[in-house]
Amino acid sequence: MKTKNIFIGLSLLAIAIITLGSCKNEQRKVNDEVAINESSTKTILEKPVLKGYAIGDEATDFKLKDVNGKMVSLSDYKDAKGFIVIFTCNTCPFAVASEERIVALDKEFKPKGYPVIAINPNNPEVQPDDTFVLMQEKAKEAGFTFPYLFDESQTVYAKYGATKTPHVYLLQKEDGKNIVKYIGAIDDNVRNASAVKDRFLANAVNELLEGKEITVKETKAIGCSVKQ
């Protein structure tokens, strides 16, 4: 009887050990799956399709219609030191989330010589929310203090290489030319202004104002693709 008990006891112990073992195996499998493999991030490069400006390029001037009906060019701003050119639109959630910040940037930097110039690059036939009339409503409703231009021929955004809204190009006047100094995002948190840690664009403008080299020249952000 005693030996039988010991036998049962040992069997149960064996089962317990097996169970624990299989549990460990399962964990190892999961760990394998989550292991970071540097080589797997290797990308087969597509043929280069990226066009548009790089840092240091001269940006083209343009003549585009503002929501008030007047035509606007960079050359109209004789006293500006540069420009914060932002491709944006009426309803893209990331553009809408950025509206107040864009107004604040204009208020902060226009007096310092870097006004905001907003441009809607979208084709209203593809994106019906981005017609000129709706742009006028948006500018009024959101209290835009800067020109909100319509890239009706869709040529300006293409030259700049803007792929999405919002997409920022910071320009500085140098010897009568507008040189691209920063490309990318407004800051590091499009969704939540109060959680922003790094104001990429504002930092870049401040560095230009101080005559310093811009530390972060290019950043990335999620945005709505330009509707062609």
Binding site: N5, I6, I8, G9, L10, L12, L13, I15, A16, I17, T19, L20, C23, E26, Q27, V30, E33, V34, A35, I36, N37, S39, S40, T41, K42, T43, I44, L45, E46, V49, L50, C92, P93, V126, Q127, T163, K164, H167, G184, A185, D188, N189, V190, R191, N192, A195, K197, F200, T219, K220, A221, I222, G223, C224, S225, V226, K227
Partner: protein, 185 residues
């Protein structure tokens, strides 16, 4: 002796279960069940929306070493070209399901829109592919990790099989997606 063994057994089983639970928490996955009949099996099955930060997404879905081809599409319900191309991805997933092709739809919708927009969208459009929410605000830090070529515009797609990987910042028709997929088959 017998009793002791049972206690030991229960104890070991318990500790194992705890470890599994910990693992799940570590993955920071919060799950919202959208169907009550959670079916087992296919890991890319559409039964829930997991919310992940980029690191968790990358670890979970970007580095699989199986023989399957993974098609990972970045989209959002508010992105018109994304919504327009979703049927192509769904059709690929169903037409090639027996050829080890798996589709994952990574939503970039705002987290507070999951229940009001994403889940109803999936139901209304009968989306079968697995959908996860990428909830990671600092896009500047993770966009280049998806691909150095990515400007951040969506839709964007990765196709990979083991070490081979291609990135696309563009929209697809079914035929276009199929011809890209065939490179990996």
């Amino acid at each position: 002796m017998k009793l002791l063994s049972i206690i030991l057994y229960v104890f070991l089983f318990q500790s194992c279960a705890d470890k599994k639970a910990d693992l799940k928490i570590n993955e920071t996955v919060s799950e919202i069940a959208i169907k009550e009949n959670l079916s087992k099996g296919n890991q890319f099955e559409n039964t829930k929306i997991a919310s992940l930060n980029f690191e968790a997404l990358q670890q979970k879905f970007f580095q699989k070493k199986t023989d399957s081809i993974y098609i990972i599409n970045f989209w959002a319900t508010w992105c018109k070209p994304c919504v327009k191309e979703l049927p192509a991805f769904e059709k690929i997933a169903s037409d090639y399901s027996n050829k080890k092709v798996k589709v994952l739809l990574v939503s970039l919708d705002f987290p507070d829109k999951i229940e009001t927009q994403v889940v109803p969208f999936m139901k209304n459009n009968n989306i079968k592919s697995e959908v996860v929410l990428l909830d990671d605000a600092d896009a500047n830090s993770w966009i280049p990790k998806v691909s150095p070529e990515w400007s951040g515009a969506i839709p964007a797609t990765i196709i990979y099989k083991k070490e081979n990987r291609k990135f696309y910042e563009r929209s697809f028709t079914f035929e276009e997606l199929e011809s890209e997929l065939k490179i990996f088959l």
